[in-house]
Symmetry: C2
Subunit: 242 residues, 2 copies
């Protein structure tokens, strides 16, 4: 039983641009089905291609790179509404892996239809490019945070982004947002050791700024959290949903 794009639960979220009936109609044809992924499943693999592209409909995951020296860098976290496989679609090879953290529901598309999308629906092609640009914007921000800020600010920034992004996709229930990741994932994302990440989280908790435990994040003091993060975030405007 798959979701009809017309009734896609994500369409109503404030984080996404409205979609014309015409576009919905096209997306119905473009969507090939759904895929259920168990926690821990490798959805895409660094260095390989993929016959399918996805949009995350439900659940959360991690994008990461394995380095030759054994380290791991988490590039970003996959939340509902995120498109997966742009690089595979356009370059033919992924430069990072994507893994499901929770159980995930994915809308699937054929990579072979991707080029048609640009030809037949230039507006959708433009949207894809916009998504790529938003990703570039996010990565630039991450680079600045990891390159220039101290541990406390890095962690605060990450939590702040989780809070706002999850709000945008309707994943909030009275102040709490679901955050199913391990501390190790966050550590690998902000470029800190697990131990230091843990201690930094503890301090933010003590200071009554934000608490993350048992898979849920609670921001007690949004103002101070944003202040700690010390970056003007880039994209609060609605983005395209594919």
């Amino acid at each position: 039983m798959t979701v009809d794009c017309q009734n896609c639960p994500l369409r109503d979220c404030e984080g996404f641009q409205p979609m014309t009936d015409d576009t919905v109609h096209f997306m119905r044809r473009f969507k090939k089905g759904e895929l259920q992924a168990e926690p821990g499943t490798q959805i895409m693999t660094q260095g390989s291609s993929s016959t399918h592209l996805f949009t995350c409909l439900e659940g959360q995951g991690v994008r990461y790179k394995d380095l030759p020296n054994g380290e791991r860098q988490v590039i970003s976290f996959v939340l509902p509404g995120d498109f997966i496989g742009l690089q595979a679609g356009v370059m033919g090879e992924m430069t990072h892996s994507v893994e499901a953290t929770t159980e995930m529901t994915l809308c699937t598309f054929n990579r072979s239809d991707f080029w048609n999308l640009f030809k037949e629906q230039p507006a959708r092609g433009f949207d894809i490019t916009r998504i790529a640009a938003l990703e570039e914007c996010f990565l630039g921000e991450a680079l600045a945070v990891i390159g220039q800020l101290k541990a406390r600010a890095r962690v605060a920034w990450a939590l702040w982004r989780f809070q706002t992004r999850l709000e945008e996709v309707c994943e909030v229930t009275d102040g709490h947002v679901p955050l199913p990741f391990k501390q190790q994932d966050l550590a690998d994302a902000v470029g800190l050791s697990l131990v230091h990440t843990n201690k930094t989280l503890a301090r933010l908790r003590e200071d009554q700024i934000a608490t993350w435990s048992d898979g849920w994040l609670t921001v007690h003091d949004p103002e101070r959290l944003a202040a700690e993060a010390a970056v003007a975030d880039c994209e609060t405007t609605p983005r395209p949903l594919i």
Copy 2:
């Protein structure tokens, strides 16, 4: 006196995909002129839009973000063939600034024509997306380097990327490539202090791996430099030229 796209000197470089006559013909119309920028000129400004988009025809520059706390993060360096203003074209606002380091020659395009490009030349739209994906790929790599590697490896990686990228755009004369930036720029790019960057460069020089002085980079031992960098670089395949 402007360069006709047909005779664009960059077309012959190994770093770029071949362009069909049809595409050249379209690009001739798309290109509105050329712009000469003096060293230090702000070509695009973080937080603002731009009526024009550019391709760097000659010269080098820096993309950077200013942070609220006064720090600066260099996102990447602009070399010949690089497209400038994707974010302005697609999102309407730049999230970083671009500044000319040397004198620069830029091909100019109208932002208002950008959408037409997707509609009338879907193949070019696809190329734009590919460029965006390559940028995403590069930023992911940078994130991994800055997040996970030590100073020596970070600097080695940066020098290695300079060497290979400049080779791809025909900017090499017997082993030397032009590198007109300040050590401070490199420091801001790899997330290290100026002092530590300087000392790291000195050590790479002593070890006969690479020398950077007077605006020129010489790689004495490519093998060891690449080994120090400790990342599998992502994109050695030709990329689209806009």
